[in-house]
Amino acid sequence: MKRICCVGSAAVIALLLTATALATPGPGDRLPPEYTVEQGLTQTGVVPATKEEVVRTARTQAELAAIKASTACWQHHWRYARGHLVYYRAVNQQTFWCSDWRVITYRSTSTWPDTGQLCSTMWGPQSWVSGGGVGSWHVDVTSRGGFRCWVNWFDYHDWIHFTIRYTYYGSSYSV
């Protein structure tokens, strides 16, 4: 019996070590080269990192005028994660926005998933404006993504959903 316990324990430890070795890398390590920039219209690209980049990539005169009128810009990255190691799954939301210290003048958001080796993205992630917007004192961005994980020989499904409020004075918080 003692021998069974020892061998059994060794096997469990080996399984745990394997799971740890396969652990999900840290945030940012698994970013796809391109992800969706959502800004009214959806297109492929990356979220802008500077105001100059926004000016360079502006698609309309109105967008160009809005960004030039802005006096402050910020970029925040939010993440909602669940699970551990190989069962890790997360939705990332990165928003670049500007204001003239009264109202929001520009916003673009990128959303991408992040999973451990035994989970995968089932749908999404998607993001959309759920409140406020350009011309308002804030903009609420909601992100949502569905995941499936292989747990005990079954497919477990769940989803992550969260909303972040970005304000004209450069703060952001969960609502």
């Binding site: 059994g8 469990v12 402050a72 909602y80 069962y87």
Partner: protein, 43 residues
Amino acid sequence: MSLKVVIALVIGVLAIWSVVSTALWALGGEGPTRVQTVTVETP
């Protein structure tokens, strides 16, 4: 090692792994949390 022992071992390991994997899937998580803040431009 007899067949009975081997079967008992396999069942034991699978039972323990099913508990551990369910816990890894169900427990933990953080969020939403802000992981990066960059002030691009302010006057």
